[in-house]
């Protein structure tokens, strides 16, 4: 896996504690800015419903871990690991994300 980074939006395009979706090499990636300014990226696909909606979930914390809840059936996923905290063994892919100046960049998987 070689690391390539793609600028996807400005940091200011992200509201604190709200997600957006970006297209990265044809893949839907949900991007989140947490309360403390941290950036996280998960696949946008909700594995429970099969719909591409995770970017539209509510961002919060569970026992201190940053989370997003699926807007369809409210399963909660860790923003750090992609792990579903309500159902063992379910996990959504996590993507690399970083700040480059004022731009947000997402790792492109090849």
């Amino acid at each position: 896996m070689s690391a390539a980074w793609m600028p996807v939006c400005g940091y200011d395009d992200l509201l604190p504690e709200r997600g957006v979706c970006v297209l990265v090499a044809g893949r839907q990636v949900a991007l989140f800015r947490t309360w403390d300014g941290g950036l996280h990226a998960l696949d946008n696909l909700d594995p429970f419903s099969g719909a591409y909606v995770l970017s539209r979930g509510i961002v919060g914390t569970r026992k201190g871990e940053p989370t997003v809840a699926s807007p369809l059936h409210k399963q909660v996923f860790s923003l750090a690991t992609g792990r579903c905290l309500d159902e063992r063994g379910v996990r959504v892919p996590v993507h690399g994300v970083r700040l480059a100046g004022a731009a947000v960049e997402v790792e492109v998987r090849t």
Partner: protein, 804 residues
Amino acid sequence: MVGYGPAAHRLVESLRDKGFGGRVTVIGEEPRPAYDRVRLTSYLSGTSAEDLAYDVPEGTLTRLGTRVTGIDRQARQVFTADGGALPYDVLVLATGSAPFVPPVPGAEHAHVYRTIEDLDAIRTAAKDAAEGVVVGGGLLGLEAADALRALGLKTHIVEMSPWLMPRQVDEGGGAVLRRHIEGLGLGVHAGSGVREVVVDGAGRVAGLRTPDGRLLEAQVVVFSAGIRPRDELARAAGLEVGERGGVVVDPGMRTSDPSIYAIGECALAGGMIYGLAGPCNTMAEVAADRITGGSATFTGADLSTRLKLLGVEVAQFGAMTGALDVTYMDPVAGVYKKLFVSDDARTLLGGICVGDASPYASLRPFVGKELPAPPSDLLFSGAGASLDLPGDALVCSCNNVCADDIRAAVADQGVTDVAGLKACTRAGTTCGSCVPMLKRLLERSGVEVGKALCEHFGHSRAELFDIVRVRGITTFSQLIAEHGQGRGCDVCKPAVASILASLHNGHVLEGERAALQDTNDAFLANIQKNGTYSVVPRIPGGEITPEKLIVIGEVARDFGLYTKITGGQRIDLFGARVEQLPLIWRRLVDAGFESGHAYGKALRTVKSCVGSTWCRYGVQDSVGLAIELELRYRGLRSPHKLKSAVSGCARECAEARSKDFGVIATEKGWNLYVAGNGGFQPRHADLLASDLSTEELVRTIDRFLMYYVRTADRLQRTAAWLESLEGGLDHLREVIMEDSLGICADLDAQMAHHVATYADEWSATLDDPDKLRRFVSFVNAPGVPDPSIVFERERGQIKPVMAR
């Protein structure tokens, strides 16, 4: 431990949970630690190997990509292919199984479907292929067929039995299943088999020849026709193995050598090989218990299954035969449901479902027990939702948890949610199919539910409402900093957003409040199963001019939306993508429409009958009053949705008594009914006051609503709220009609503030470029529609197609 699949992983986890103090080494043949084989197919649609992987529990030593070649039971050590030897005190064989490949010519050119490496090979082969054949029409075979189809191959399924999934469904169910699968464009060849895998001169797979000599052209052939336990190590070490394979174990998972256990698909337990995740996990738990000095036993497992393959729900529970059976069949919808019962038709023995698996959740716990209702009643959709379970009914068969275990967790340990039940009983943690049942048991448990909203607030919603009101708090950040902890969640954020909206009005997407809203409030529309939204313009009282009706029709037509008349006398437009919402609303707002708040916990509609204006029986103008009430309370955010209706006479055509507040005309004025609802637990509204003038009526409703908004729990409808009020209806009457708490002036002022500050959310959104910017599918490609959203047509309109 020899073998590192899911059963081995569960054993290691369980040992750790039980505080096992010894050193654990896991030797795995595959190049990676255990991963989730249930979700293996998702690897082909982009889930990476690391996403599927289970975490290696801390302190576990692993030897990956290493084959164990022999066991020296005398010296208690195992030998590895790289020439090493490892000593053991306790050895666990979790060597799994190998796919069965029939010994036919060319079989060496076929694929199997078990590991990530297998899938890599299939993906590579599919690149230059147009057609594929899967041999095996069972659970795994259909999964493989689904995968080939997703890789773009025209796919055939060859099954030896006369119908698909013979272990889960009978002939009738098989026929319905076949129609579903053929409808997806797959070829189904049941009652067939394989004579050879045909290879062309260049050594490439060209097809599969069936016993009757037919050639199914295919460049990829996958065998998925059963498993054979990997027992070669045990066999060579002289352990007892079954006649047809499998390491013989006792109920404690011990082999014929007391220091060697076998678990998972390689173990022959009670004469059976188990290939499902549930029983294999149970075996791991039992072995872990024994290793740590316990006495757990594995005495067989419930092989009930519920799954969705190729978009079809299939379920089987209990026995597949019985003295009597009752069948429900809907060939049009592709639904087949069958129950097997004892000869006196009183005891449920088992069931089969295709196309609608709902009986699985509601009826499986009744297997072996007296039927709660006549079998025919139980087969209709939705039946069984309100059944009370007997205490020993098995709720979670993966982890062997019965209804009384759940009730005990609620009553004795104070568990109040599904997450708590999972942690406390393990129910629902394996396959998850019993989670709806857990929710129902919680709802029906009837015990005091803890008042804390969630882990972030120790307060109830009503307490938070008072804190916000009395302290004049205007932001979530301030509230959680001063009265909570952490950064909130999908429970407390929308609840606080609703409180702030009830108290201060103002736009729900203003500033920090935007981040508190559920997706429905965030996009001011209702999310649907495929991630699109529906739009409901307000039609007060259900009265609409022809011109406005035409505008709705034109908007629906121009944006290709599905339209349906709602139960609340308005029109729902489905299938809008987020970037279309502002364009749709521009047209609607220009035509004089406002948000209908169908997306909010807020007033929905005030239905009406046509009333005295037209109706020969009507005694009051019900439409006029409904419009007045709907315009007065529109936009009022509340703990749950609010519905209302006004009927113009006692015939009650508007069904006002099923509403949160309903009004029925009398000769002298209006009767006000409160706290009714339809839904899960229907309740007729109670008569609060009779023969009110319009002015008295409005004042009473104002106070009723505001008192409810102040004091109800999160997501508590007025019906449940009234039932939870100490003193009930009399208390309510005292508070809002006799001012027993001295708060009526406050309630009145609060409602006056709401009415004075109401503004249409959609028109305000259209005027604000900052808010509009959020209505895009992709921020880095604003013009691109979401390609995952696909529709087909049904009865002349669109309908969502899900990718899986």
